[in-house]
């Protein structure tokens, strides 16, 4: 028996990283919102590695923060260890990653959601999404029959949707970490015209700390000083609390795997879902890279209040007893005890080309998709989409123009454009190489790229905005000063230059000129620059990069400007490209399916050639001229 349970602007299905950001953004932008989760105890869960960030993902976290999302603050508040990866490989690829306390992260996120005005949080399984006579969403229904009216619905179901777990021959319908799966929603979504498919992912075992012989392992300490994710966090409050460890598999491990490979559900054929290439199970690695004598893995603590340890790099869907056997072949793990077994999980998701760049589905107006439901993988990718969908759902309720992010603005924009334009054949993970503008999309300048937009949208506090503007003024003034400042030639300066491995000088030189030498840093010049103002390290970082990489940054900006001409030429929505003569058949088919928003997006669709773009160009001009005539 259905009953009417309430009316909301925005309903969010799922309380993971996508759902949490979506619900918070909608509520913070003034909408009445409700978040449904199958288990309140699984809000903000880290069902796989207890870590946030990493290469390109760290950039996403920074961007989420710059736009006004929550993930960065949660990661800072619950971090156990922090590392800045890729130092020495260039500022564009510096990437922040923290190990986090899983339980603390969950509690943090649950509290933020609970205390958010305009937002209700409810434990319930949503089984149905309802639409009005025009096909626009208008309600969601729980398994217990409660009907919640909703103007917009955001799906953030993660691996819960049609979730099925595999451990060797064992297989069970289940969400992650032993939760209930969402069993009925898929049928409802299919009924609304969405096409669903199966993806899979996996996670390694959690083992008992006391059963590991740490004397045999390499120590992985954190980096000091800790750089926070959030522009709001005071770095002084952050300290490394734990170390991680690393170790290697060996020939014995690989032998155990190969002897039992027929018992893997993936190799045995039980799993139909497509797994992520970037996250291979240990049996995948051993089979596909059989020439590698060993594979590295990491042992990471799950939290301060637990003995559970995470074995990063050893995910598996082999039977439980094989898992134990293979782990025990490794030095230091001879007596290891498994507390939670490794498993593979299969779930329902969509082909993301059925989404608009706003993340609204094309088939069902008012229905948005995010996270793993859209075919991505990773907490950060999910949170980024959740934030964008939350913003757009709220703006749609309020009758405002939707927000779409260009590729050149952010990794978030790149992620969404890749999804809706190219789609994905396996779970999509962000990587620095996915961006052609990676010298512009650095983690240090996420605020420059996105905070003005976040402020305009209404997710950035006035205090934060003031701080941002002050820092930008300081940055500009300091760059200006360094461009004008002449450092006189001296023996001391030449001694420094020689020590840094660069050519000494015959006379004076502009400070900025000297900093353009790859070997010379801002800090190195301090003794020769007594007038230097005291600046926030964040400002110093931006000053240094903008001076050093000015030439390359300019070059990329020129590429962006070039692309802007195409991005700035809109294409009609809901258009049948069959009516344009001169387009090739394949192009017509792709254009009709993707319905690109502009020529730029059209040019990135595989199967649409430059000649097709030329044809579209002419057609648009003809349309414009015909309109003028009338």
């Amino acid at each position: 028996m259905d009953y009417f349970a309430g009316e909301y602007d925005v309903a969010v299905i799922g309380g993971g990283h996508a759902g949490a950001e979506a619900a918070l953004a909608a509520a913070r932008l003034g909408c009445s919102a409700i978040l449904f989760t199958i288990s309140l105890d699984a809000i903000g869960n880290l069902p796989c590695n207890p870590a946030i960030g990493g290469t390109a993902k760290g950039h996403l976290v920074r961007e989420i923060d710059a736009l006004g999302g929550e993930m960065a603050r949660a990661a800072d508040a619950t971090m156990l260890q922090s590392r800045m990866l890729n130092l020495g490989k260039g500022p564009a690829v510096h990437s922040l990653r923290t190990q986090n306390d899983r339980a603390a992260y969950h509690i943090y996120m649950k509290r933020v959601l609970e205390r958010q005005p305009n937002l209700d949080v409810k434990q319930a399984e949503i089984t149905e999404v309802r639409v009005d006579e025009k096909g626009h969403v208008n309600a969601v229904v729980t398994a217990m029959g409660a009907v919640f009216g909703a103007k917009k619905v955001i799906i953030a179901t993660g691996t819960y949707l049609g979730g099925k777990i595999f451990v060797g021959e064992y297989c069970e319908e289940s969400g992650p970490d032993g939760t209930h799966p969402a069993k009925q929603l898929t049928a409802s979504l299919r009924g609304l015209g969405l096409e669903l498919r199966r993806f899979k992912t996996g996670t390694p075992a959690r083992v008992q700390r006391g059963s590991i012989n740490f004397a045999e392992l390499e120590v992985q300490p954190g980096d000091e000083p800790v750089v926070p994710f959030s522009f709001d966090t005071d770095p002084a409050t952050l300290k490394n609390k734990v170390v991680c460890h690393s170790n290697y598999t060996n020939a014995d491990t690989h032998r155990v795997i190969m002897e039992n490979i027929h018992r893997s559900p993936l190799y045995g054929g039980a799993i139909e879902g497509i797994g992520p290439r970037y996250c291979p199970s240990i049996e995948d690695k051993v089979v596909r890279f059989s020439d590698k004598p060993r594979h590295q893995f990491f042992i990471e603590p799950m939290g301060m209040d637990t003995e559970e340890m995470y074995l990063q790099g050893l995910s598996s869907s082999l039977p439980e007893e094989v898992q134990l056997k293979l782990y025990r072949t490794i030095k230091g793990l001879e007596n290891v005890k498994i507390m939670r077994s490794a498993y593979a999980i299969e779930y329902d998701c969509i082909d993301p080309t059925c989404l608009w760049p706003t993340l609204e589905t094309k088939a069902v107006p008012g229905l948005y998709g995010t996270g793993q439901f859209n075919g991505t993988s990773g907490y950060e990718e999910a949170a980024a989409q959740g934030l964008l969908a939350g913003i757009n759902a709220a703006r749609a309720v309020q009758g405002k123009e939707p927000i779409t992010l260009e590729r050149s603005s952010s990794y978030i924009g790149t992620l969404v454009d890749d999804l809706v334009t190219k789609g994905c054949l396996d779970p999509y993970r962000m990587m620095t190489s996915r961006s052609e503008y990676r010298l512009l999309l650095r983690h240090d300048n996420a605020d420059v790229r996105l905070t003005p937009l976040g402020h305009e949208i209404g997710l950035i506090s006035e205090a934060r905005w003031k701080k941002f503007q002050t820092q930008q003024e300081e940055k500009r003034a300091e760059i200006d000063r360094l461009e004008k400042l002449t450092i006189p030639g001296s023996d001391e300066l030449n001694a420094l230059l020689e020590r840094l491995g660069t050519t000494p000088l015959n006379g004076g030189i502009r400070a900025a000129e000297l900093m353009r030498r790859p070997q010379v840093g801002y800090a190195d010049l301090a003794p020769f620059d007594p007038q230097r103002p005291a600046l926030d390290p964040h400002v110093v970082e931006q000053v240094e990069i903008e001076i050093k990489y000015a030439g390359y940054i300019k070059k990329q900006e020129a590429q962006v400007a070039e692309m802007h001409r195409l991005e700035g030429t809109p294409l009609p929505a809901g258009f049948d490209y069959k009516t344009i003569s001169g387009l090739r058949l394949e192009a017509i088919e792709k254009l009709n399916r993707i319905q690109p928003a502009n020529l730029g997006q059209a040019s990135r669709i595989s199967g649409v050639s430059p000649a097709d773009i030329g044809v579209l160009h002419i057609w648009l001009t003809a349309q414009r001229r015909a309109e003028k005539h009338n």
């Binding site: 590695n49 290469t55 990866l85 890729n86 020495g88 490989k89 260039g90 500022p91 564009a92 690829v93 990437s95 992520p276 970037y278 996250c279 291979p280 690695k285 596909r288 890279f289 590698k292 594979h295 590295q296 990491f298 990063q312 790099g313 190219k422 990587m431 620095t432 190489s433 996915r434 961006s435 052609e436 990676r438 010298l439 790859p518 070997q519 990489y549 390359y552 070059k555 070039e562 692309m563 001409r565 195409l566 003569s581 001169g582 387009l583 090739r584 040019s603 050639s609 430059p610 000649a611 097709d612 773009i613 030329g614 044809v615 160009h617 002419i618 057609w619 001009t621 003809a622 015909a626």
Partner: protein
């Protein structure tokens, strides 16, 4: 994608149909068309540079580059919006030789123009309101029809040497990028360090291959349009006789008075598998006659720019200072030494010549004895290695443009690497080069690199 990205950039193409015609037109349209044309066009009489010319005016002059003159031409200037495309347009009317027109087009591309895409002039004309709405559809049909035939040609080229070379270079770049990416995106997965020396070696190797292709582009031209060949030597050594022998007609005036040939006489002759565009030049000697002096000067210039030189020596006379001067002038250039007049009594010390020249042929231009040896020597010199027709050769200006952009981006990457710049800056240059090559073979760097990372590297948590 290049073409449609840059809306108003100047584009150039040969506008007249392929094949011989009396006149051929190379058209240049878009922003800066006049400035670009001015870089390669020298008015013969007019003091007004191209940029100063009014619309609907023409001017006689020469098309030339740093490497020398290409052709005589009349430049017609059209000012926006009064032109076919509605943009600033320059049309260079040259002689109707396909290969000559190709060289003129190359010069314009070198000077900053982009090769025009299929139907692009017409497209621009339409967009600038120069064609009626009715014509829109035919233009749209035309674009894809032309690009389809281009695609078919590209497909047919897949087995060709050019395709293989470009693909091999792309592979090398993708491998380098994938390694950089795996190393950067998976810093903790034991991906082998990217080592500066090895990376630089790879990049330099690809750069070399691409540069050889670019050089080969000119070599291909040599095969198709003839070898620019200069006959040089002391007066009365028998240059005109040789020319006449090869041409099979009395082309130059042959007398026994030294200094008879005062200007350059040209003719195209077939020698074995090659066509030589022969220039008979004034004999190299110090002279007070101003007309002959000018001729000598031209001869020297021609020697510096030609594809091939025949250095002629008189077997019946001892080596003189001017002979040695000629040998020095031709050092390092493709050249055959011809010891002429072997039908007369020998007074020449040939040892010195064999020392200076790689190829020495003895012959009598008078009797025709030794022509086979000359043919063999020339073929040996030009049809080996980089001049081998089976070797990859760039055929179109568009191909050359892509390869040139790739080579220049790799050059930049090497520069960044040598300067000690970090890998992020470097990888952007490598991607740019890869994208330029992928324009020829299909694909897109950012996607192909990601695919390759997972194919080749064992990465992932």
């Amino acid at each position: 994608m290049q073409t449609y990205l840059q809306e108003n950039t100047a584009i150039a193409a040969v506008a007249t149909p392929a094949g011989a015609g009396a006149v051929g037109i190379v058209r240049l349209s878009g922003m800066g068309a006049l400035q670009i044309a001015e870089k390669v066009f020298r008015p013969s009489h007019s003091k007004t540079p191209l940029c100063g010319m009014k619309g609907y005016t023409g001017c006689l002059g020469r098309v030339e580059t740093a490497e020398g003159q290409i052709d005589e031409a009349v430049a017609f200037v059209y000012r926006a919006p009064h032109s076919y495309t509605g943009e600033d347009v320059v049309e260079l009317c040259c002689h109707g030789n396909t290969l000559l027109l190709q060289r003129v087009l190359d010069a314009l591309l070198q000077a900053g123009a982009q090769p025009a895409g299929p139907g692009e002039f017409t497209r621009r004309a339409f967009e600038n309101g120069k064609l009626s709405l009715d014509q829109a559809e035919s233009v749209m049909e035309l674009i894809n029809a032309q690009s389809e035939s281009g695609a078919r040609a590209a497909l047919a080229a897949r087995d060709g040497a050019l395709w293989k070379t470009i693909s091999a270079c792309t592979e090398q770049l993708l491998d380098a990028s994938a390694h950089l990416t795996a190393w950067v995106d998976y810093p903790e997965e034991g991906v082998e360090e990217v080592e500066n020396g090895a990376l630089l070696a790879t990049l330099r190797e690809v750069e070399g291959r691409l540069n050889r292709l670019l050089e080969g582009y000119d070599a291909g031209r040599i095969l198709r349009q003839g070898v620019d060949t200069v006959i040089a030597g002391r007066p009365n050594v028998g240059k005109s006789t040789l020319m006449n022998l090869l041409a099979g007609a009395r082309r130059s005036i042959v007398t026994a008075i030294p200094g008879t040939t005062r200007d350059v006489v040209e003719d195209s002759v077939r020698l074995g598998r090659l066509v030589l565009r022969l220039s008979d030049t004034a004999g190299l000697r110090a002279t007070d006659d101003p007309v002959e002096q000018a001729g000598v000067e031209i001869a020297r210039e021609r020697l510096a720019s030609c594809d091939l030189a025949f250095a002629m020596f008189d077997s019946s006379r001892p080596l003189e200072e001017e002979d040695l001067e000629l040998a020095a002038l031709l050092k390092g250039r493709p050249c055959v030494a011809i010891i002429n007049k072997t039908d007369l009594e020998r007074r020449l010390d040939t040892a010195k010549l064999t020392e200076s020249f790689g190829a020495v042929v003895e012959m009598s231009a008078n009797t025709g004895k030794g022509v086979e040896d000359l043919t063999a020597a020339v073929e040996g010199l030009l049809l080996s290695e980089s001049f081998d027709p089976a070797q990859p050769a760039l055929v179109t200006a568009r191909q050359k443009d892509c390869v040139r952009r790739a080579a220049s981006a790799i050059g930049e990457a090497c520069g960044a690497l040598e300067m000690g710049l970090t890998y992020d800056a470097l990888s952007v240059c490598i991607d740019e080069a890869t994208d330029a090559l992928l324009e020829l073979t299909g694909g897109r760097a950012t996607i192909d690199v990601v695919d390759r990372v997972f194919e080749k590297f064992c990465v992932g948590k």
